[in-house]
Amino acid sequence: MLTAIVGGLVGGITGAFSAFVFNFIHWKIVEKNKSLSSLCKLSTSFITELENHCLNYWLSENNREQKRLELEIVSMCSVVRSLVIELNAKSGAKKARSELQSLENFTIQIFDTATGGSFESSNRSVDNARAAKISKLCTNAKMIILRLAH
C-alpha cells in the first residue's frame, strides 16, 4: 500500500517536473525565435532606410541635402554593421553560417560602395551604376535576412 503511494507520488512529481522542463524549453525556443524574428525585421528596415539614403544621394546632383545624407549614410552603415553582429550572435545556427558570412561581406561591400568614389566631393555627379549596385546589394542582404528569419 505504502509502496503504491510512494510510487504514485514519485511518478506524479517526475511527470510534473518533465512537463515543467518541456514547457520551459518550449517557451525559451519560442522567445528566441521571436527575438531573432524581430531583429531580422529591424535589420531589414534599417537596410531599406540605408538604401533609400544612398539612392537619394547617388541619383541626384549636389544639393543642400548632400551633407545631411552623407552623415546619415556613414552612421546607417555603422548601425547595419552592429545589427549584423547581433544577428550573428543570436542566430548561431550552424546551417546559417554561410548566410551570416554573406551578411558580414555585405556590410563591407555596402560601406565601400556607398561611401566610395566621389563620396563627400563637391564635384560629385550622378552615378547610376553605383546606385544600381547599392540597390542590388541591399536587396540580396534583405533576401538573406528573410531566409534567416524562417
Partner: protein, 125 residues
C-alpha cells in the same frame, strides 16, 4: 639595457580634423589628400628605423567614408611614397570605441590592395 621603441602618435581628430571627409583638397577641409600630404607623409618621414606611428581613430570623430580612408592611407602607396608592407608595419591603430575596429580593418585592406607607385601624384589644388 634595451632601448624601448619610440612610438609617435597621430590623432586624426586633434592633429588633423574632427570632420575628416572627402577625397581631394578640392572637396574642402579635412580631405584624404590633405591628410596624406600635410599630416601622414611628414609624420612617416620623421619615423626612425623600427619606430611606429600610432593612429588614433576615434577621438572626437563619428566615422569615416571610404573615399577619405582610401585616399588618405592607400594613396601613400599608390603614389609611391612607401610600400604597402612597410606602411603596414609602420602603423598601429588605437580606438576606445570597438565599432572603429571596422575602420582599422578597412584601412589595412585598402593599403594591401594598393599598387605601389602606380599613379603619379598631381595635387588637386
Amino acid at each position: 639595457m634595451t632601448k624601448a621603441l619610440n612610438v609617435k602618435t597621430l590623432n586624426i581628430g586633434s592633429d588633423f580634423n574632427f570632420d575628416p571627409s572627402g577625397r581631394f583638397y578640392t572637396d574642402g577641409d579635412g580631405s584624404g589628400e590633405e591628410f596624406r600630404e600635410d599630416v601622414l607623409k611628414p609624420k612617416l618621414k620623421e619615423l626612425a628605423k623600427g619606430e611606429k606611428l600610432t593612429i588614433v581613430l576615434d577621438d572626437g570623430i563619428e566615422g569615416f567614408g571610404s573615399s577619405f580612408l582610401v585616399e588618405g592611407f592607400a594613396g601613400a602607396v599608390k603614389h609611391g611614397y612607401i610600400k604597402s608592407s612597410d606602411l603596414l608595419s609602420a602603423l598601429e591603430f588605437e580606438y576606445s570605441n570597438p565599432d572603429f575596429k571596422f575602420y582599422e580593418e578597412r584601412i589595412i585592406s585598402y593599403i594591401k590592395d594598393a599598387k605601389y607607385d602606380s599613379q603619379k601624384y598631381v595635387p588637386s589644388k
